[in-house]
């Protein structure tokens, strides 16, 4: 557990309070209310129809798969899944075809869950609700922002793409924890099959509610919502900057104004977008074109049964195998989970391979080619680990064999043989060692008398005779035995 995050001000220490709103685009084949393809990167305005263009007379029909993915997210976050109602959120914007967004308001599908981070900290989940995405506006001319642009182009391909908005409790206490939260949430969303997790394509979008207070103060400060956070890096930077800005305002005797602020990646600053007074009155009311959504017990149970193992459980499984005592192990566990190599590690351990070694080889060597590593037969992986742990292969040799296995060059034994790493039986080695002793009686005498510095010379001779095929560790052991 690291030290709590503090901002040292001129008048004392401050802590920060952060809540995150994460918009996750669902990986459905079609949009939330029509059968248009939900696909990133198509020619503008090609995945559109009367419904997602909001043409007069068109009506929405809810996508069953989107509901199932929303329920899967809710289940994974330990939420209660409840009967829910869609509302209309009314405001004018050119990339919103109906000039209202269909979303869930006071009766969302998922409420009251929590996300456990890698360090076992818990962040509360207030809600995770379904809604439709807007289209995308590109401002042309000027600096690409709305002010000073010559005109704007609108692409409605994204309009109507299903989103789940996940709202955390204000439980996050540092920029680093905010990043850890999003990273963990991303892993959960990918594990549920709900999302591809691509922040750079906008599949995952994060807004941060940031406030500061004096250390020990139980009440919350006034918060600002920071938008345009397109990466984990900008999330951490923006929170840090915004918290410091608020501390500076407060220490100057000012008040933080509740407002929406825009993060500028280039300048590294947040700037005011609109104040609370300028905030839209969204005039929410129940969407009359849709009926109440009330999934039955059986449906909820079926979705839960279909869930794959979640990151926390996978992490716990690895930790139970290898222990979490060393920082290196923690890092290797994180890497293995991230690359989806934990199944391989667990399977190899199940076949009798040493778990620590399995994790290390997975997180370091196999990680060089994760796709091939995920396709590796656990038996083959276990075998190379066994060859290494039994001393038949040195660590260096085992790594070389593993690299060849990942390249699809055959079984561990065949590769070891081809590379000349194998074939020295215990008897053969013994014969070679005896030969070397016979040729260098003086050196042997010194070694036998306890001069360990000569061991390296004798080992080198054995290696020369065997053209490097001998295992250094075994040679050393053989020499030891003879001296004893």
């Amino acid at each position: 557990m690291s030290a709590p995050y503090r901002i040292a001000g001129a008048t004392g220490e401050w802590e920060i309070v952060v809540g995150l709103e994460v918009h996750c685009e669902l990986s459905t084949a079609t949009k939330l209310f029509c059968s248009c393809a939900n696909r990133f990167g198509a020619e503008p305005n090609t995945n559109v129809c009367p419904v997602c263009l909001g043409l007069p007379g068109s009506l929405p029909v809810l996508n069953r798969h989107a509901v199932e993915l929303a329920m899967a997210i809710g289940t994974a976050l330990g939420c209660e899944i409840r009967p829910s109602v869609f509302h209309r959120k009314n405001y004018f914007y050119p990339d919103m075809p109906k000039d209202y967004q269909v979303t869930q308001y006071d009766e969302p599908i998922n409420v009251a869950g929590a996300l456990e981070l890698a360090d076992h900290a818990r962040v509360g989940i207030v809600r995770a609700h379904l809604e439709e995405d807007t289209g995308k506006t590109t401002h042309v001319g000027g600096d690409g922002r709305i002010h000073g642009a010559d005109y704007a182009l609108v692409d409605y391909n994204r309009a109507g793409v299903p989103l789940v908005e996940i709202v955390s409790a204000p439980d996050i206490t540092s920029p680093e924890q905010a990043r850890a939260y999003v990273a963990e949430l991303r892993a959960v969303l990918v594990a549920t099959g709900a999302s591809d997790g691509r922040m750079e394509e906008g599949s995952l979008r994060v807004d941060a509610n940031v406030s500061v207070r004096r250390v020990g103060d139980p009440s919350y400060g006034t918060r600002c919502e920071v938008k345009n956070l397109n990466s984990l890096r900008s999330l951490g930077r923006a929170i840090e900057h915004e918290a410091h800005r608020q501390v500076a305002v407060l220490e100057d005797g000012g008040l933080v104004a509740q407002e929406t602020r825009h993060w500028n990646e280039t300048t590294g600053r947040t700037t005011s977008m609109r104040s609370k007074e300028e905030a839209f009155d969204y005039r929410y009311f129940p969407e009359p074109d849709l009926v109440r959504l009330a999934p039955g017990r059986e449906w909820i149970a079926a979705v839960a049964a279909g869930l794959k193992m979640l990151p926390a459980a996978r992490r716990a499984r690895l930790a139970a195998l290898v222990g979490e005592d060393a920082p290196a192990a923690l890092e290797q566990i994180a890497t293995a989970l991230d690359l989806g190599l934990d199944d391989l590690v667990v399977a190899a351990a199940g076949l009798g391979a040493p778990a620590r070694l399995a994790l290390a080889r997975a997180a370091n060597e196999a990680a060089q080619d994760p796709a091939s590593a995920r396709a590796l037969a656990p038996e083959a992986f276990a075998e190379v680990l066994h060859l290494e742990s039994s001393g038949a292969l040195s660590a260096t040799q085992a790594k070389a064999v593993l690299a060849e296995m990942l390249a699809g060059k055959g079984s561990p034994r065949a590769i070891a043989q081809r590379l000349g790493f194998e074939g020295l039986s215990a008897e053969e080695l013994d014969t070679v060692v005896a030969g070397v002793i016979g040729e260098h009686p003086a050196e042997w005498e010194r070694y036998a008398a306890g001069d360990d510095k000569v061991a390296q010379f004798l080992l080198g001779q054995v290696m020369r005779r065997t053209k490097g095929r001998a295992n250094g560790k075994l040679v050393a052991e053989a020499l030891q035995r003879r001296r004893a």
Binding site: P50, L53, G54, L55, P56, G57, S58, L59, P60, V61, L62, R88, N90, F92, P94, P97, K98, D99, Y100, A152, V154, D281, R283, Y284, F285, P288, D289, L290, V291
Partner: protein, 494 residues
Amino acid sequence: MSAAAPFAGGAVALAAAIRRGEESARRVAEVVLEEIAGADDLLHCFNAVTSEEALRAADAVDVAVAAGRDPGPLCGVPVALKDNLCTRGVPTTCSSRILEGWRPPYDATVVSRLRKAGAVIVGKTNLDEFAMGSSTENSANGPTRNPWDTSRVPGGSSGGSAAAVAAGLVPLALGSDTGGSIRQPASLCGVVGLKPTYGLVSRYGLVAFASSLDQIGPFALRVEDAAALLEVIAGHDPADSTSLAGEVPPLAPEVGRSPAGLRVGVVADFLVDASPACADAVRRGADALVAAGAAVEDVAIPELLHGLSAYYLIAPAEASSNLARYDGVRYGLRVDADDVATMNARTRSKGFGAEVKRRIMLGTYVLSAGYYDAYYAQAQRVRTLIMDAFRRAYERFDVLLAPTSPSVAFPIGAKSDPLEMYLSDLFTIPSNLAGHPAVSVPFALGEENLPVGVQVLAPALGEPAMLRVAGALERAAAPDARGPVRPHGAGAGR
């Protein structure tokens, strides 16, 4: 109407004649297009007449019949569509400037079903802009006139469809009913107008006014024809999430069945606020039902009178959201400006008429932060109250009887006060709030010798009993109380 009117015997009979090859769909279409051309300069029922498409569709019907195929239940029958129903490639304007130039790339579900049933679509009829009104005066294209007295309104908002059927220009038409927009003009024009149970007919392709209240329904001169048209357009549609599941039972056969044994409640609260002739028509309708063997009794449902206030909060609230999309960005009118917000504002200022703007502002206000509970939420509670009151009444009665409209057709320009206009829908709104079906049947001639309809209300999916009673009323009605009527001025006679 010329003596050669090919559908004097009704739409169902006309379809049968075409199916048997005794009548040609082409000839019928030609007669109808000619009649429209002759009468519509005066009446202005139509925003657009789709002559070419109509003749092509009629020819296809004739070819099918000649080949021994059955083109469907509405084989060759001309139908007019309210101009808020989307028609592929044909302008759909909602009688608003804001949709100028827009051609939908798709057909409304009801339109596809009509085509599949062999109907011949002849044009798009005038309406109050976005169906907001009770007189068809709020149209960017000017008012439609009532063929019974061309100085008067046909009612609204489906005035173009009602007047076209009343004048004998078409045997069938579709309208939409959000607070009475089918039934009230039906009453004022002496035709049958039916609002189905909410969810019985798909709203996909109906340009939304108030989504929780809107429902598409038929106009006809006869109850049987209205029922036959309803059978064609009703039924589950996966494209409308509020569409009801399940099979639709045969409806047309109900019309001829005796109402004997049915329990009919007369909504006494409504008679007080109706004109003498409108109230009297209900009383005489009730007498006729007693004579036919129904059990009739007065019932007090005072909650229903609160419907109007609730409606004028809920409907504008939904409308303010539904009409937000007309922003000049994607289709229809655009008045350019240097920035988007100004372009939006200018487009909407120019594109919408006064009544639409009034309702958008009203609806925006009632949904605003701090007002939602006092207005929108309160109106929803009243809506629940009305549904409960109906439920209690339907424990005792199969159907209810009421006036459709408080008055006969009024002169064009007579109701300049919006609140006075809103009262036109006092008796029709409760059925929309509850999602129930109701039908207006032409029954008598009232003040100024103008037609008066009687309204039959039923609980959700109560169309069969409702149609039995409607049929009985039709058989007892004054024969001169319904169209077709040759368009004429005041007091000129038929």
